[in-house]
């Protein structure tokens, strides 16, 4: 994959921000794609986890702004336990979510969840979902 980039696009600040939130150094990713093959959600993602890592390691966060990948991540840690570079990719995905959520944006609106779902679905689903997808 060719990444179009220039000094205006690459953000060292973003790489540092991801590190600050996740504790992970995305620059050590060697783009092997093990995360993508391990991910149970990759079929439904706009960008596979490998591509998310690729943009992240160059700080190209504007390319990740409107994709669903890190929202589809359910923190199952399948990627984390398999990454040959030892990156906790689940934490990187959390950092990408938080960069949005901490601007007071929600991915889902709790008030829009249908009443039938609220009645039928188990409590831990609501707690977990609202924790991960709302600010």
């Amino acid at each position: 994959m060719t990444l179009p980039m220039n000094a205006q696009k690459v953000s060292m600040h973003s790489i540092e921000k991801i590190k600050e939130l996740s504790g992970e150094n995305v620059k050590v990713c060697m783009q092997c794609g093990t995360c993508t093959s391990a991910c149970p959600m990759s079929d439904e993602m706009d960008f596979f986890p490998r591509k998310v890592m690729h943009y992240s390691q160059f700080g190209l966060l504007q390319n990740l702004e409107n994709i669903n990948s890190y929202w589809k991540c359910a923190s199952c840690h399948s990627c984390t336990v398999r990454c040959p570079r030892g990156i906790d990719i689940a934490k990187v995905m959390e950092a990408l979510r938080l960069l949005v959520l901490r601007t007071s944006k929600n991915y889902i609106e709790p008030s829009q969840v249908p009443t039938e779902k609220l009645k039928e679905y188990p409590g831990i689903m609501m707690v977990a979902g609202f924790r991960k997808l709302t600010s």
């Binding site: 923190s75 199952c76 409590g123 689903m125 977990a128």
Partner: protein, 294 residues
């Protein structure tokens, strides 16, 4: 040794069958546990951001309660509660700086240093009862029942809190072996069930769950057993919808492993509440002659 039982929110209403079957089984096995006083929400998911300590306060408070009440161990059933409490416990034990911040934040509470051990029910059965003694207590072996033992994500990952090494599914296999059931080869035992993502989806669109159910069906499972109310919902209660959308072709009735354990131990059927599972579970168990007098 005092063992405290941490139920978690869902076991008090949607997943009563997980709690009642588990506690009745422990009573039948002669293991004393006591439900913690004043427990609160575990948070369901462990916070993965390094600067987000506020979400660790809830689970840490539960651990403090257990210490306060003189417990040596906390036993949990729900996989998400297990994972969250075990990870926070590990942090409180090993991360001096964060532990100090959390302890100072809750200055009205006693300080906590990770003294209590967080164990999952499966581990407790192995350690406190053992497979041989369990086998001897079985009154109604589940002969011929083929089970897909489903661990999901949070019992095994991350490795530092896994109830057994990655890729090993020995605890459930040995438990089912002791109660007379057969564990099938199942390559989706630790795949994700779709978790909380179903909030955002239409019923029946959960492809992660469809993969798990299809894998269990391909392995020839009669039933699938889990320890998590969220997995039980996604895998067990959504199969009609998955079939309607063409995502699976064969149903695999899904229930809690503790319900199978309770049946084998001859516990009163009122204690394992099969009516709270999908109706396919009772139908299947009747055809397999696993139910005593239902």
């Amino acid at each position: 040794m005092k063992i405290s039982y941490y139920p978690g929110c869902t076991l008090k209403y949607k997943a009563k069958n997980l709690e009642t079957s588990a506690l009745a089984s422990l009573a039948a096995l002669g293991i004393d546990v006591e439900e913690m006083d004043r427990w609160n929400c575990c948070g369901a998911v462990y916070s993965l951001a390094d600067d987000d300590l506020i979400h660790l306060v809830g689970p840490a408070r539960n651990l403090i309660r257990a210490k306060e009440q003189g417990a040596d161990k906390i036993v949990t059933l729900c996989s998400m509660c297990y994972n969250t409490l075990a990870r926070v416990n590990q942090l409180m034990k090993n991360d001096e700086e964060k532990r100090d911040t959390i302890n100072r934040f809750m200055d009205e509470e006693i300080d906590y240093f990770g003294e209590v051990e967080v164990v999952h029910y499966l581990t407790l059965i192995k350690e406190e009862v053992g497979w041989k003694a369990l086998r001897e207590k079985v009154q109604r072996p589940l002969d011929g029942l083929k089970v897909a033992s489903y661990y999901g994500c949070t019992l095994q990952r991350p490795q530092e809190v896994g109830i057994e090494p990655l890729g090993s599914f020995a605890l459930m296999r040995e438990l089912f072996d002791a109660i007379g059931a057969e564990t099938i080869a199942f390559n989706a035992a630790d795949s994700c069930c779709g978790s909380y993502q179903v909030i955002c989806e239409e019923p029946g669109d959960n492809k992660a769950a469809a993969k798990v159910v299809s894998s269990a069906a391909a392995g020839g499972a009669d039933v699938m057993a889990t320890s998590c109310p969220l997995c039980e919902f996604n895998l067990g209660k959504q199969q009609d919808e998955l079939i309607a959308k063409g995502n699976i072709t064969t149903q695999v009735p899904t229930l809690y492993f503790t319900q199978l354990l309770a049946m084998a131990l001859g516990v009163d059927a009122a204690e394992y509440h099969l009516e709270l599972n999908d109706p396919s579970v009772q139908e299947l168990l009747k055809t397999k002659n696993c139910l005593a007098a239902v």
